[in-house]
């Protein structure tokens, strides 16, 4: 028993959380399609339901903060296993909404287990990496942690919900913090490059480009060899890299054709410029940009946005909620939200860095990475900078599962942070 026994909850992060939730609810109130003559507490309406979800989320936050702090580390593995089982169970008992079998039906409610699996995976990763004699520099350990991260993603992809699976890439930031080289990131970027490149111009051209790049790199490394800064390059390594790249390029097309749903193919083709269709595939993005752009400096005012009130942007209360903020609150509103998210992530990083134990730090980086991915992919999509990937904006998009998942994710960390002085191995 020492000074740190009394938990010190980080007030800044909680206020940021509450601010985002409040802005989110007001925006849902404005953006969700409403029948005439309904009140704020009408639980048949989306904003009424969301009010209920928010209440439950706050309750959940309090519960999380009340549980003994050691629970999360001790039970991390079990939580992870339960989470994986719940994802697998979707294939048997899942309910299909919008073409994806990602939901459990509980009476009139639906739950999306993939929203909770993020927190479970973050716990499992933190637990594993904080184990004795575990290091990401060790290839075997790296493979194990890679498996822990990839398993839920691989289960989610065929539901199909590749958007949610993509988020697991966020754990790279946590791994990097623990010592994984940036080279792995560049490997991923090369893989994405080859994948999209193959779809755009075909395997033959990609093969040729890879060949040229490998040859150039090889020549460069031979030159640098004279300065003895790198070990002598072995030609076999370069050949192996070339073969792997070409093989990956060859299978890219079949991955694209078989692993993805039509709508995902359309979105990728749209970004590649293979589809020119402002009414179909690109309609969302075109309308989203009109909605945001027409907001101006200060917006048209709550419930005054013609785009938002007219329902021109599909899914505006969920994935495209940011566009409603843009129209009704203008640049002032969108900049506030962007800065709030930046502050949230900065704050989590700062908090993670001040942890004394590795478990809390790894978990904190996992949380920061996941929020960053959602922030980056969602707003990037709404602004038309990235292809359409259906993932929600944390705390703001409509939906109980998402809100609870993010609340659990954040508040476990808030709880860990609150006990940072007393909580050690």
């Amino acid at each position: 028993m020492g000074i740190g026994d009394k938990p010190k909850f980080d007030i800044y992060i909680i206020f940021t959380y509450l601010a985002l939730i409040a802005i989110g609810w007001i925006t849902i109130y404005s953006a969700a399609p409403v029948k005439e003559y309904s009140t704020i507490f009408d639980f048949n309406e989306l904003y009424g339901k969301q009010l209920l979800w928010i209440g439950l989320a706050l309750f959940l936050g309090i519960i999380i903060c009340s549980i003994e702090v050691k629970f999360y580390e001790r039970f991390a593995s079990i939580i992870y296993v339960i989470s994986i089982l719940s994802l697998i169970g979707l294939f048997i008992a899942g309910k299909e909404i919008n073409g994806a079998k990602s939901w459990y039906s509980l009476g009139s409610m639906t739950l999306q287990p993939s929203e909770f699996a993020k927190a479970a995976t973050a716990l499992a990763v933190a637990k594993f990496l904080s184990g004795i004699n575990i290091s990401v520099k060790n290839i075997r350990d790296l493979l194990i942690v890679g498996f822990i991260i990839a398993l839920p993603a691989l289960i989610i992809i065929p539901q199909p919900d590749p958007g949610s699976a993509l988020v697991y890439g966020a754990f790279f930031f946590a791994l990097h913090r623990e010592g994984v080289s940036l080279w792995y990131l560049s490997l991923v970027l090369v893989a994405i490059g080859i994948f999209l490149g193959t779809l755009a111009i075909g395997s033959l051209w990609i093969g040729l480009i890879v060949l040229v790049v490998v040859v150039v790199l090889f020549m460069l490394s031979r030159k640098r060899n004279h300065k003895k800064r790198l070990p002598k390059p072995k030609i076999s390594h370069y050949l192996a890299a070339l073969v792997v790249c070409v093989l990956f390029s060859l299978v890219s097309k079949s991955i694209f054709d078989n692993a993805l749903a039509d709508r995902h193919r359309d979105r990728i083709n749209s970004v590649l410029g293979k589809i020119e269709d402002t009414q179909g595939v690109e309609y969302n993005i075109v309308q989203s940009k009109i909605t945001i752009g027409s907001g101006g400096w200060t917006g048209k005012g709550l419930l005054k946005g013609t785009q938002t009130q007219g329902g021109f942007v599909p899914e505006q209360e969920t994935d495209f909620i940011f566009s409603a903020i843009g129209e009704e609150w203008g640049f002032l509103g969108t900049a506030t939200v962007v800065i709030l998210f930046m502050f949230l992530i900065y704050r989590i990083i700062i908090m993670a860095e001040r942890q004394r134990n590795q478990f809390a730090r790894v978990y904190g980086y996992g949380v920061a990475g996941i929020f960053f991915f959602h922030f980056f992919i969602n707003i990037g999509m709404v602004l038309g900078l990235l292809p359409t990937v259906g993932i929600p904006l944390p705390f703001m998009s409509y939906g109980g599962s998402g809100l609870w998942g993010f609340t659990i994710l954040l508040f476990i960390f808030v709880k860990l942070d609150a006990h940072r002085m007393s909580y050690e191995h």
């Binding site: 945001i292 752009g293 101006g296 013609t306 129209e327 969108t334 920061a368 900078l385």
Partner: protein, 638 residues
């Protein structure tokens, strides 16, 4: 270093977003605000009422009725139950799906017509139920209501504008109605008025909520002008009745104004058939009838050789050129030998004869000699031909005449150059073109040209350009095209002897059985030889029956030309029809019921069937005498 990656990436992404937002919301906001306004403001077109059409006596011929179009804005469709909707609209489900898809391809934001022109009865049950289908709504529009069952081809019809019109004329949107033929087309810009536009803020279901900016941008529709046309409704109805079971055209003109009293083509149809939901079915029937061709306005578009009525023009030109006198007698030996392979034939009558009897008996030999003198007066045939052409053309032949209806044909009056093209060695002389003397050969005229020529004779030397418009919104027209005299090249004094000859046609000549008690008519019969090509072979068919007339002689109120295809000879059909039309116009009713009955019970359908029957036939003789008499039948498509 390891601590910085996420911090750096978050900062970078955050500032990229802020920059992109600044670009969208501050720098480019004007552009997006316009786009948002285009999205959210619903333009509702306010259709003006189309102008009415009255006849010369102020009787209403064409008015409007209300119809309802079911419209769709494809983008606003939500959770559509096509089966339920197709049952509600009473159309085939697949057709509904096709229509929506067509509309979507045209434009997802703009309204398209799903089902055009529902009647009040069909609309009533839809009115409330359609609200359950977001994206669909009813647009009220004004449709034509015909108070007459005749005159379809001259009144014309309105229909939805086609894609090309929409692209070329910014006034029209898809689904708009516009005149497509006849008066409706000619006076489209007067009749249509000007559309208004109302701007509404639309809600999420595409329904109009409230006036946008208090109607600042709205425009008020301007109703179309009411037109009074020169037609006489009763005369039109009567003419179409007389033309039952025949093909041809009638044009009647008031000589002292150039107003078209009657413009009839046969076969004809009820104008109401080209309106409403069965329009496309009926119009296909019309267009597919390539034998009777009811879609061709024969009064304006059919070019025939004029036949004997043309002789009066040659008589006038002969007098003007001084090559004949009213008293000089010329010989007819059952024809005139001009040196060709066989002489120009003529029928049996006394000989020699002077101008008056020449016209009354329609003597071919007489006019062959007159024509030859006209041409040979000049030093060579080319020059003579040109001089003759100048005279003939001054009667309005050989050009489009410039009347105010959208279709027509110029006809043909040959000149020197024309024959030079046929005879490149210039070896042609007056006898080469001798058929022109009797209105056969290279001359071609339309019924309206013949009627106009008759009006010029009735006026003793001038005509007003024929026209159909009389008043616009009750104000008489002052268009100089129709109020300025067109002088012929023949001096007034030469007309009287020719007109006397035309009176003799009725008194003693070829049309003496078509006299009207108390009215002195001047006329001229015509029997036009009729050659057509059947399977590439030049074949002669039964002659056409032609007649021109005006009456009364000293104060002409009507000039008329009647053309009945394959009508045997001039007095058999055309003269009788002209006589009844004149009586109807001047007296108001018909005293000679036997004559009327004769026409109503005679059909020429068996004549028209002859060349298509595939069996050998004789011309100018019926193959079956019983086929000639038929019960009178209302012209109809059904």
């Amino acid at each position: 270093m390891r601590k910085l990656l996420l911090l750096a990436v978050v900062t970078l992404v955050g500032f990229i977003f802020l920059g992109a937002l600044f670009n969208l919301q501050v720098l480019k906001t004007d552009e997006y605000q316009i786009k948002a306004a285009l999205n959210a403001v619903k333009k509702v077109r306010d259709y003006p009422e189309r102008g009415f059409i009255y006849d010369r006596d102020g009787d209403l011929m064409v008015a409007n009725q209300v119809a309802y179009d079911v419209m769709v804005i494809p983008r606003d469709i939500r959770k559509l139950d096509t089966l339920q909707l197709s049952e509600l609209l009473k159309i085939d489900k697949q057709r509904l799906i096709d229509q929506i898809e067509k509309a979507r391809i045209w434009s997802p934001f703009r309204p398209s017509v799903v089902i055009p022109q529902l009647t009040q009865e069909e609309y009533a049950p839809l009115q409330e139920k359609l609200r359950r289908f977001p994206g669909f709504y009813i647009q009220r529009r004004s449709l034509r209501k015909y108070l007459v069952d005749h005159s379809a081809s001259v009144l014309g019809y309105i229909r939805e504008v086609n894609q090309r019109t929409v692209e070329n004329d910014p006034y029209y949107q898809q689904g708009d109605l516009a005149g497509k033929s006849g008066i409706e087309l000619q006076y489209e810009e007067l009749l249509r008025g000007r559309k208004g536009v109302k701007h509404f803020v639309r809600d999420r279901l595409g329904r109009a909520l409230e006036s946008y900016e208090n109607g600042k941008y709205d425009t008020i529709p301007k109703s179309g002008a009411d037109l009074t046309v020169t037609l006489d409704k009763d005369l039109q109805a009567y003419g179409e009745l007389l033309m039952s079971n025949k093909r041809g055209g009638i044009v009647a003109i008031e000589p002292k104004t150039g107003e078209i009293l009657s413009l009839i083509t046969a076969p004809n149809y009820d104008p109401s058939l080209l309106m409403g939901r069965d329009r496309s079915k009926n119009i296909n029937k019309l267009l597919r009838d390539t034998l009777a061709r009811p879609n061709v306005n024969r009064a304006l578009q059919a070019q025939y050789a004029p036949g004997s009525p043309f002789k009066v023009l040659n008589a006038l030109v002969g007098l003007e050129e001084g090559v004949i006198t009213t008293t000089e007698r010329l010989t007819c030996r059952h024809g005139y030998d001009y040196g060709g392979r066989k002489p120009l034939g003529c029928h049996s009558h006394k000989s020699p004869l002077a101008l008056n009897t020449g016209i009354a008996e329609s003597c071919n030999a007489y006019f062959a000699q007159v024509y030859r003198r006209i041409i040979e007066k000049a030093p060579d045939a080319h020059e003579g031909m040109d001089n003759w052409n100048r005279h003939i053309k001054s009667f309005g032949l050989g050009n489009y005449l410039g009347y105010d209806l959208p279709v027509g044909q110029p006809g043909r009056v040959p000149d020197g150059d024309y024959y030079d093209r046929w005879y490149p060695n210039h070896k042609w002389y007056a006898p080469t073109t001798i058929s022109n003397a009797i209105g056969q050969g290279e001359i071609a005229t339309t019924p309206i040209q013949l009627a106009n020529m008759t009006a010029a004779i009735a006026n003793r030397g001038y005509f007003y350009r024929p026209h159909i418009i009389k008043e616009i919104d009750g104000k008489p027209i002052d268009n100089p095209d129709y109020t300025v005299k067109n002088m012929t090249t023949v001096s007034t004094e030469h007309f009287q002897p020719v007109i006397d000859g035309m009176t003799a046609v009725y008194k003693t000549g070829t049309a003496k059985y078509a006299q009207i008690p108390d009215i002195e008519i001047c006329g001229k019969t015509g029997t036009v030889e009729n050659f057509v090509k059947i399977d590439g072979k030049r074949t002669q068919l039964t002659d056409h029956s032609v007649f021109i007339a005006f009456a009364p002689k000293d104060d002409p109120q009507i000039a008329i030309a009647v053309f009945v295809e394959n009508g045997y000879w001039g007095s058999r059909y055309a003269a009788k029809i002209a006589s009844l039309m004149i009586e109807k116009h001047i007296k108001g009713d018909i005293t000679r019921k036997d004559l009327e009955n004769y026409l109503l019970t005679r059909s020429l359908e068996y004549e028209y069937a002859k060349p298509h029957s595939g069996i050998p036939f004789e011309i100018n003789e019926p193959t079956d005498i019983n086929a000639r008499i038929q019960q009178p039948e209302q012209p109809s498509l059904n």
